[in-house]
């Protein structure tokens, strides 16, 4: 009807100014959405962690290993169902840019601990039988176009030398947030090679991963394990897998904080841009507002006229920015390869994006809206002369 039409036409009066404002909002909302999605992706690993899994690592730091001999003593702690272990391999696949996590694992037990890695029985068998076999997630295999039976070379970093693996299995994630970007191979293969080339580094384990019979036992079992190795040469720190993942993530917590601060600043900046646009628009139209008031229109009508325009422009930008987030996230995900898993724009993020746009529209529209509603007819008409 009349008011919406008037709002729309007012918004289109300075097409360049409105267009630039919409663009600015779209970019800010897009940036906010992408940054939030990056932060979400960092934490996705921890979210996927099982409640019955504990991780035992060296108490001093993750970079120090534990002796394999801890395994038997851990297994005997009441409430522990199964124990496996893994080493972070590091390494480079062709170039440094091709980042994905690579673990040397105690193959049989490890796959039992992660039933969310769906591996066909035949591939599992082929992997277990091949000392140099490897298993990777579906997403990783697709990224590099790997096929079963092909050999995959890695250049060692933590464990120097040229390593050659044969792809024996490709697993699918059972859950949407299961990490399909992991490369697993036999800890035994790593250990045998070390025995030959660097015997002092052999029989060392990065972390033990254990499965509990009951999730409620987590605190007690952690305490008992760490007490077991108290005052030994390799004291342990045991925590839930989730806490472990978060600790891993917390190394980059500062970066996450910076990302959040930046996205907040982007929103504040666009709020100023928007407030400037609306301030200019309302300033130019004071005589019109005074005329409308003289004709008998109430302050509420003028308030709606101004606020409506601000919210309209903001929502246009917000919708555009939110709509662009999906393709932008897909492109971003493709660029970063398997660095992130679970890189998906959440519904919460999209709702927040639109709410932010709405908030910017209301906040930026408020001062000129009050100005229009409160304008004195005489002063407003006089500003025309």
């Amino acid at each position: 009807m009349y008011l919406p039409r008037l709002i729309l036409r007012n918004a289109l009066r300075h097409r360049l100014r409105t267009g630039l404002t919409v663009l600015g909002l779209a970019i800010a909302v897009l940036a906010f959405g992408l940054l939030r999605t990056v932060v979400d992706a960092w934490y996705a690993g921890a979210d996927a962690a099982s409640a019955t899994h504990l991780v035992t690592r060296n108490a001093i730091s993750l970079v120090f290993p534990l002796p394999l001999t801890h395994r038997e003593r851990i297994r005997r702690v009441a409430g522990v169902r199964k124990v496996s272990y893994s080493n972070w391999f590091g390494g480079v696949y062709i170039t440094e840019r091709n980042f994905f996590p690579r673990f040397a694992v105690d193959a049989g037990t490890y796959l039992d601990l992660y039933p969310d890695y769906l591996l066909p029985a035949a591939e599992r068998k082929a992997f277990l039988l091949d000392r140099r076999g490897a298993v990777v997630g579906r997403k990783l295999a697709q990224t590099y176009g790997w096929r079963l039976g092909q050999s995959i070379p890695l250049r060692g970093t933590i464990y120097p030398g040229s390593w050659e693996f044969v792809l024996r299995g490709i697993y699918d994630g059972r859950q949407p947030n299961t990490d399909e970007g992991i490369f697993l191979f036999h800890w035994d293969y790593l250990n045998e090679t070390l025995r030959r080339n660097a015997p002092r580094r052999a029989d060392q384990v990065g972390v033990f991963v254990l499965d509990l019979m009951h999730a409620e036992d987590a605190a007690r079992v952690s305490g008992e394990i760490d007490a077991l190795f108290k005052s030994s040469l390799a004291e342990t720190l045991t925590e839930t897998e989730k806490a472990f993942q978060l600790g891993f993530v917390s190394m980059i917590d500062t970066i996450v904080l910076a990302v959040q601060v930046v996205s907040l600043m982007v929103v504040v900046i666009v709020l100023f841009v928007m407030a400037n646009t609306m301030g200019m628009a309302a300033g130019e139209r004071l005589p019109e507002y005074a005329t409308l008031k003289a004709l008998g229109f109430r302050p509420g009508f003028l308030a709606l006229l101004v606020l409506g325009e601000s919210v309209l422009i903001a929502l246009l930008g917000g919708l555009a920015g939110t709509a662009l987030t999906l393709p932008a996230a897909a492109a971003f995900s493709a660029q970063t390869g398997t660095l992130f898993h679970g890189f998906a724009v959440s519904h919460t993020t999209m709702v927040l994006q639109l709410l932010i746009a709405l908030g910017v529209g209301v906040l930026a529209g408020l001062p000129p809206c009050l100005r229009a509603a409160r304008i004195s007819i005489i002063a407003g008409l006089a500003s025309l002369n």
């Binding site: 008031k293 003289a294 004709l295 008998g296 007819i377 008409l381 002369n385």
Partner: protein
């Protein structure tokens, strides 16, 4: 009808208005007594800064006096709340400004329709009234033109249509020909005369243009906030 014509359009006693500049009080109107009969066509003349616009704005209910009494068509304006005053203006007063004050984003028809939004008229009735008003000012062929596509004279005619579309008793015009060329000014003045004579509208027009003032049936001189009736009742 009989009764209405006995109530004067405007009656003021000792009307005062002063503005504040800082904490200094600047008197503009110093106790004005004036009666304007219903159906009159009055020119309010006087030197610039003498308070003509101020007086007109008080009569039209755009501003409140600092003291004295003011009744317009029997209504004491100072007792009305802001909202009631706005409603009163919408139903009793038509406004004509020097710079037309049309909304640039609305075409001629929409501009004329604008005041009708405050009435209970249906969409179709609004359209009919606006079309009638525009045909009265001879602009039936410019309905979808925007103000920027019209000459000054045409814009002022749209403004006149907007002023009369609600059928108010009183028309106030502040320098309606101040921004127009001779020919357009003549057209506008002729239209005001017509509205006064044929439709009985009470018109109060502020002007410093002598020729425009001569078209009115009564002239009131204002000088430094004091009234001086001149060449009246001819």
């Amino acid at each position: 009808m009989q009764e209405a014509s006995e109530v004067p359009a405007v009656r003021m006693q000792q009307l005062r208005k002063s503005y504040h500049r800082g904490n200094q009080e600047v008197p503009v109107l110093n106790g004005i007594d004036l009666v304007i009969e219903a159906g009159a066509f009055v020119a309010l003349v006087g030197p610039s800064g003498s308070g003509k616009s101020t007086l007109l704005n008080l009569i039209a209910g755009l501003d409140q006096p600092s003291g004295g009494d003011l009744e317009v068509f029997g209504q004491e304006l100072s007792v009305l709340s802001e909202g009631a005053l706005a409603r009163w203006r919408a139903s009793h007063v038509g406004f004509i400004f020097q710079f037309y004050n049309l909304l640039p984003v609305l075409n001629a028809l929409e501009n004329v329709e604008l005041p009708l939004l405050l009435t209970g008229l249906s969409r179709r009735e609004r359209r009919e009234h606006a079309l009638a008003a525009l045909s009265m000012v001879g602009l039936s062929d410019r309905l979808t033109h925007y103000p920027s596509q019209l000459s000054g004279g045409q814009q002022q005619r749209v403004a006149i249509a907007r002023a009369v579309v609600t059928d108010p008793l009183l028309l106030v015009a502040d320098e309606p020909t101040g921004d127009l060329d001779r020919a357009s000014a003549e057209e506008v003045l002729a239209m005001l005369e017509e509205l006064n004579e044929a439709l009985g509208k009470t018109i109060i027009m502020v002007t410093h243009d002598n020729r425009a003032a001569q078209r009115a049936r009564r002239r009131i001189h204002l000088d430094k906030g004091e009234l001086r009736e001149g060449a009246d009742g001819v």
